[in-house]
Symmetry: C2
């Protein structure tokens, strides 16, 4: 292994080699307008009580709406949903133009094609420098078809590969 003494380069090298599942997070502002973005940082924070986290930059187009919101809808995507992931990371004014979403619990925008949706109540927005860790209590969900998960690795979208083992736990 080669040492990398520059902190930013060390971070970038690490996450270039790390793969992530792809999610779309939606919310509404106080007027009910839809907001949303693609995220690769959705993780579970325990099942008792059911908690999840995601990270967001405080400069993002959804930041102000997020700070005014009580709820978010987390969507997990399948391989077939790559174009939705691309759209939800395009300029914000393009993200809700199509007829591919409906109003779900708490008036949240829900993309019907998602393989699963978890509705979370925002417990805390924990600011760290110019970013934040958002902690949500999962309160209900919508379960769609089970398909191969959509992944992001080295700035490319990928599908799931071969199974390497049987169940490990």
């Amino acid at each position: 292994m080669q040492p990398e003494s520059d902190p930013k380069e060390a971070l970038l090298a690490f996450f270039r080699r790390h793969a992530s599942g792809v999610a779309v997070i939606t919310l509404i502002d106080s007027a009910g307008n839809p907001y949303g973005f693609t995220a690769t940082s959705v993780t579970s924070l325990g099942a008792n009580p059911p908690l999840a986290t995601f990270n967001v930059a405080s400069g993002s187009s959804s930041w102000k709406a997020l700070c005014d919101s009580s709820f978010v809808a987390l969507h997990t995507l399948s391989e077939k949903d790559m174009l939705l992931a691309v759209k939800m990371s395009s300029p914000h004014e393009l993200r809700f133009l199509d007829d591919d979403w409906f109003r779900g619990p708490h008036n949240l925008p829900i993309f019907e094609q998602a393989s699963s949706v978890a509705i979370g109540k925002i417990r805390e927005i924990h600011n760290v420098e110019s970013n934040a860790v958002v902690i949500v209590d999962i309160e209900q969900g919508l379960v769609g078809e089970s398909g191969g998960a959509l992944l992001y690795h080295q700035r490319e979208y990928r599908g799931l590969g071969t199974q390497l083992s049987n169940r490990n736990s």
Copy 2:
């Protein structure tokens, strides 16, 4: 989509459909003894300054050592490293028996086979119920070979699948 009104079931259904990259996190206790575990929650929290997060249960075997530590080594794994991921989620006394690690920066245990290692200084352990979000400042790294990333999905280890697009950003 089918509604799921039970919060815990909604969380479990969501994360069953969500895939994650696999990491191993190592540290030492105040006596220098090695600790470590497999994690699927390592995410970037921004590059300026370089920050990463991971989640850990306060009942885990590494918890006490983590609370006494200043540094952690985050390892990202490739497909070929599945057995290391399995070992690092086995009983703790089995995790450092083999001759597959060395002492790196800050005396941290480093697994040579990892595709990349990021050394993080613990900035904050943010407790949430019986779990915690750990926020680290990345200070340096060790960069290994670039290989296909190791993934975890539906309690199985998987490799990366086909590329679905060209670069998207």
